[in-house]
Symmetry: D3
Subunit: 285 residues, 6 copies
């Protein structure tokens, strides 16, 4: 197993190793709590993705949970109960003032998780074992989702009396084709398996074990790391833009984007390597 990357040693709950050049493997690292998220965990999660996004030694990120029991069990309900925005003397506030306290709390949480989507490098999410609640919000921010056969997935929020607010309800209808299925799992909060996730297109590969799933992710990651980072990161940016905008707007944005990207050295280098049947090497981005 690869050693932790020095540049990421200050995180308490985020473990970052590098299994191959330009590939970072991020593990949510709180296995005793099934990798559940307290506020401290999500603040670190946001920060580590910002750092990965800016780190020119990283071209692809693999995300998994530490340990065998869970990708993540979602919100740390006990921590949430004791450390609520309404604890202490705030109980007496009127509903408008309580809402005012809640909004930035939700915004911060959403914003930390969204950093994963904003990360300029492709993120491959490996789901395994317990993957419920926030696990779905998080995985919706990945580019490619892979699951181990034992993964137990659920959009669990309805069962704790709330509508999922950290991104599942905003993103799932856009990343899985069957709305009937999306509504089914979001409304009923029922478990679904890795195989079912594959059948509907939520994940694109299922592997026998967590280990083989991570191997598969690394195989993709190594391939992506060898390609032009200008091309790979531009492709991620434009696909995300395309999902959110009209075709006309996307084509226009794409033309502006490529009017500079095509001036980079990667395009001629890759094209020439292709004609010469050699393997190109790309400089950092």
């Amino acid at each position: 197993m690869s050693a932790p990357l020095a540049a990421y040693s200050s995180y308490e709950f985020m473990l970052v190793t590098s299994p191959a050049p330009f590939v970072a493997h991020l593990e949510i690292n709180r296995p005793k709590k099934l990798n559940a998220f307290s506020q401290q965990v999500w603040l670190e999660f946001g920060r580590v993705f910002q750092q990965l996004s800016e780190d020119s030694d990283v071209r692809v990120v693999i995300l998994s949970g530490a340990g065998d029991r869970a990708f993540t069990a979602g919100l740390d309900v006990q921590a949430a109960a004791t450390d609520s925005p309404f604890s202490g003397d705030k109980q007496e506030l009127d509903p408008a003032r309580k809402a005012k306290l809640l909004r930035p709390h939700i915004d911060e949480f959403q914003s930390c998780i969204s950093q994963m989507e904003k990360c300029e490098k492709p993120v491959i999410c490996v789901m395994h074992a317990v993957s419920i609640g926030l696990a779905i919000d998080i995985s919706c921010c990945a580019d490619i989702r892979i699951a181990a056969a034992n993964t137990r997935l659920a959009v669990k929020e309805v069962d704790i009396g709330l509508a999922a607010d950290i991104g599942t309800l905003a993103r799932l209808p856009k990343i899985v084709g069957s709305t009937s299925w999306v509504k089914d799992v979001c409304l009923t909060a029922r478990d679904f398996s890795a195989q079912e996730a594959l059948a509907v297109g939520f994940v694109s590969q299922v592997h026998d074990t967590k280990a083989t799933a991570i191997e598969a992710a690394q195989k993709i990651a190594v391939s992506l790391a060898s390609k032009s980072p200008v091309a790979v990161q531009g492709t991620k940016e434009l696909l995300n833009y395309g999902r959110e905008h009209s075709t006309a707007d996307s084509l226009r944005y794409t033309a502006i984007w490529n009017s500079v990207a095509l001036q980079g050295e990667d395009f001629p280098k890759a094209m020439m390597s292709g004609l010469a049947k050699t393997k190109p090497t790309f400089s950092k981005l």
Copy 2:
């Protein structure tokens, strides 16, 4: 079989029963005409969904057709022919004036069917036997679609010389992933089976008979009815919003929505029940 609900006894073509607490079963009730829609039927359809939406004794709606021959055969073509906006002395109008008569006619029809989508409670649509034309427009407004094995589906409008205008063309590209399939069935007006509908994700379950399909729907309905209505109805609202808006807009709307929903009693009640492994009961909404 459960008795008709008194509050819904005034409808001529809408039969509402309650197979379980908080569950309403709505049947399009014109079996001799294959549950086809005349203007009176769609006006009742709009009104009944408005009433179901506001009725705090209802937390889930199951929709099916009465009888074994059809969910619905769609527009009542004969009624449409005799009761057209152009009948009588209006034949001599110029095209601009005819358009002026047609627009509110189409608006009213669209608006009645859209009431089903606007219903704040989840709607599970059970399709069976003949389910063509308007049947597709209607089912596109459901949250979860289930079919009996004998269902015969078709976006039939092209075959009567028009483009489907009551919602199929607006919603189908957003609720089924394969646009190639969507265009195929909408342009050719060909029949497709329950199995094909399942394979592309238009429906999420297929059952042997209408009876077993309805049983399956009731099983989901009973489960949904036992959950926090604040959570369930919020989830429906936010998924529908998410389908129509950018991720950024959806996250913002979600934060506002939950800034009040989280102040309800359901969230702590459900969370405490979860920790205590008891079954919570939720008050009306």
Copy 3:
């Protein structure tokens, strides 16, 4: 094999025949170069689709590549290298001025390919053998995609150091349900087969050979050609509109559209034929 259509005889790389009344079969006709696209090819491609769109003798278009080796191998890389916007004395320009030269170049290329999507008649795209790079951008503009079993598909652009800018990244997330799959193939540039394309819904039929795939396309085409062109073309327009707009905007646009379409002769003619069980014939549109 049917003879070339006289009205389309001036194209060098576009071969148009008519295998059945109102059906046009367009072949990208540069088989020695694997139907690769130089600037002249894409200019012709844009023009031929504009002509097909306006030609009232055409109600459906089938698109394939000429020969057995390729639908198209995409950009003609050699032509692109010698005939670049930066060749000759433009090498010394600053990046802002180079971008200014590149933008209209990309715009023109996008615009030519987009003419296929704008064609008012349904386009059935038959993919076969080599179908990489620009082949995907092109097929994303089709209404219905069919593949031969031997098709080798790839969103190849990343491997030549750029982000696909002729439409794949703008359209693919909207026409295939599984974003995880879309990102996988766009980021890795890996090959995928006809069967995989079918499984994710990118194509809706796979046939044993190019010949049987084209036969299948012709069967659909003949069926579409026999139907009301007012209904068929309206359906295409409204589905494309629906993909790009909110449901509310689409319903409104649909009502305006049908307020004139319903005044045509096709609606009563088709409805009466339906009641009388006769086969209607529709006049040109």
Copy 4:
């Protein structure tokens, strides 16, 4: 003074007269309460605009308040206090359930006022004397705003502890150019005069008295009533659409709209009259 129109005699608070052919004058008719709005008033307001929109004897609407003391003083605060959604046994509801009661209440109120904007005929709003709070929400739904010199205007809601929710905050930034002014009057709730309203473009005419303001409105109304209703109503529709959509979307919608409007008899009739210097008469729409 003209007699009340028989077709509108059933309203308690809406008085409709016809000062000229095809011109309806609607007065908010609760002068003893300064034309303040209780729920009954806004329900009637919504209904009367729906009726005016559909009435082919009406081509233009003038709106004013009855009596000399007020256009309207806005919400009837006393009625609102006694007839609140929370009165009686609903006080004990939790905030999520109270919100559930409030939302349809606000929706209904918004929807009744928005009927004025949806009215297909141009509406000229004559403001006079007290015109505060809801008066601004209402006038934002008019097409043309005219004021008497004595008009006292204010976006008063902040002073009763709430953000204006019946349309002022949604529409004012789109119908007056200076956002600095819009924010000033909305945040401070200060009074502003007819002259100030004219200077910033909120109203387009100011007249000495209510009587002369109404005269001016009638002059415009008579002029509009003499013109092609196809042209006038199309212009209103397209301007409202243009305010809410991108230019590209508006141009597309306009082309569809006019593809039927131009087939009406008004276009050739008006054009020929123009060439012949005669005055055309247009049939009902």
Copy 5:
């Protein structure tokens, strides 16, 4: 007076001269017909703006009408009457088929006029004398509008029985602040003066005569022509984008745009000239 530019000598109705380096003066040149637009005129109008947009010898365009009697009197009604899409044997078509003929006709007309807005160089429109109907559609596509004191303006379309469809209704609500005024002039078709146009912000300068108005336009043009074309053309692009998109989308587009524009030589050159108090010269774009 400057001589016609050779590169633009092939137009029949478009006269292009160059009163100063990098400044083109385009005149609609059909003075005997009050510069009215037949189809041939609008086709030339679209083409000349495309050419001006691409011509690196042009950095600013001034648009006026030839002669003293009119900027333009709008549509050439007589030509329109004889050369209609419905002339000859097309009279017998049904309304759906007539609409099908009309739509591309309107599209083409819109598209030719919109070329003026798409021109990448700033366009200063000098309005004078008769400026009605299409004159407003055209001037809405300009960047800066200047009027001579004798200008007679009117959104005239309602008076010929139609809603303006070449852009006025789509653009005017976005480029003038007072919607009450916009609706007034569009619905009533009344004349308004240069002074009124100035007061509402439709034009930004009024001058005594056509000659002094053109002088003023030239003064601005000469100033713009001396500035960095990268900066000037980028500013136009981003302002047009900003008008049509949300602030968040605009900021993102701006960042991409400037990530290449700032790499040009103009930014350091202009900045250094500023510090050194010298006058920079910019190379062609």
Copy 6:
């Protein structure tokens, strides 16, 4: 003069005092450099607005420049020249890699200035003396703009060879009615006076001196500080939302927003005070 607020004492270039309860006065405090912005200044600017937004002792913010010579002279050009993202060994990067460095640089700058718009409390911007370049980007983020008579304004960026990218081009077309004026000042980079800014609605008040302008701002601020913060902050939020969204979306968002805001104590308190003619006091928010 009021003393600096202790909570804001750590800023080097941001001076915050409190001239009245709940009113904060923020001064850009780098008078020797005409309050020009280096990176450190804009980072502080972003942070201070985030702190003001969250500070429940602040209900209104006044922004001005320190000293008499400038509100701000904009970008500190000398600092920008020495501390560029391309300095040192980065000069050799290709254009794609340079763009990659520039984008986050622009994003950070935009984001710091946008914090002012995101501040939940109203911001009154007092412009005076030199107010060019970035001064306009900044003031576009204010709610209310007031100017001293000696203010010299200019959208100066074109004169340093670039398109303004920190918000002016995105926001100005939305906050001033006359697009002809907006394009004039943005393209020509010319100076304009406080009086001109008032005439077009960019500012809503002009006062003789900086001192009287600040007095006027304080008068508004004191008034706003005395009102319900729930109402005032909700009004700001909904007006900003309204500017960026369709009316339909805004009305929906407003209903959700007020479904909790109306449950606060401010609404009944303000209403009762109104009826009782007493002055209400509102608790912190």
